[in-house]
Symmetry: C2
Subunit: 213 residues, 2 copies
């Protein structure tokens, strides 16, 4: 099945690199998709892993993408203060076929007024904050409500993108991409969620996060 | 535990974006690590997902990094023809504490003469080719032989980096990073390895790969 579809991915300084690369690794493999990396200003943006990602498009150059993808990361704090970016998210959502977020990208969707009344998820540490935007926070890895698909923290964007691929292009394409990316995860520890991690690990991560604030 | 450690990551045009972002998302969270993105020439490199990654360092500027990380992707074909890059890999390996690869990055390690007599893995489609370099191919997600740690296709770099984090900084740090990245994978399908994927999906992926050649 061939799909012709434009995907606009918002990037910004201190975006989380895996929030972007995880889902885009999946979505870029759907035949016929084109991904455009967008920011308020074009040029290199520093990511959390110290590598710079280049934005090739300004907000104005993006018309009506079928998919809007909003990643997260510590950089959302500066974006959250910028009404021009939040308005852009809202406008692109109005005409999108699918609007997706990874990790704390959901906070930006919320600030753009998109999550009112919707089931949604985000990084486990920020989940309660979705209430501030009228959303109904769900302790799930991927949540689909209407055309809005949100995912939990960082690595959850890969799972989200496979669900989205199934919706866009069918299960055969989604499975073929999963196999091509050898996505047969085998983490060495069972510590990837607050319910599964040992209590002392949970406390350590929350303490470190508190120190950042 | 605080570690002071330099990590050199080789990048190049048509590098696989998730091969880089997956492990670096983990390794960059180890306290005291610094990651340097290195290429034959500095500047932006186009990745397979259409975004450009910037290399800030030339090969010459990297002295004796504790960790050498070599990702894969279709771009390895051009690197494989460049003896200056292969020599650099070999030299940095001589003084490294750990030498790691993701996906077809193992092919570059092999061409640099590093895998002779070692157990190693790579993307399932290229696994037999490791024999060409005197390696002993292992159908495993992560293989550690001495100081060389290789991983299977693309997404396996995340698992590899968690093993490596345990070796470098201990299990508590590795688990804390896993929780911070919410790496509690839940793929919607069980199709991520050639053994698990339905036969028709396997044939589809192999047919597409053959068309690329």
């Amino acid at each position: 099945m061939i799909v012709l579809m434009e995907i606009a991915v918002l990037i910004f300084d201190n975006v989380n690199a895996l929030d972007v690369a995880g889902p885009c690794e999946v979505l870029s493999k759907i035949p016929g998709t084109i991904i455009k990396y967008v920011s308020k200003e074009t040029g290199p943006k520093l990511t959390d892993i110290g590598i710079k990602f280049t934005a090739d498009y300004t907000l104005e150059r993006i018309k009506e993408p079928e998919i809007l993808l909003v990643p997260g990361g510590h950089g959302i704090e500066s974006v959250a203060d910028d009404s021009s970016v939040l308005n852009w998210i809202n406008q692109k959502h109005n005409t999108s076929t699918w609007t997706a977020s990874v990790c704390t990208g959901a906070v930006l969707l919320g600030m753009a007024g998109i999550l009112k009344g919707l089931d949604a998820t985000t990084h486990w540490m920020r989940l309660p904050s979705l209430n501030d935007f009228g959303a109904k926070p769900q302790k799930k890895r991927v949540v689909i409500d209407g055309k809005v698909i949100t995912s939990a923290g960082v690595s959850a964007g890969i799972d989200m993108a496979l669900y989205l691929t199934k919706l866009i292009a069918g299960e055969t394409t989604a499975k073929a991409i999963q196999l091509a990316l050898e996505y047969d995860p085998a983490p060495p520890f069972n510590a990837g969620s607050p319910d599964k991690a040992p209590k002392e690990i949970l406390q350590l991560v929350m303490k470190k996060a508190a120190q950042r604030l």
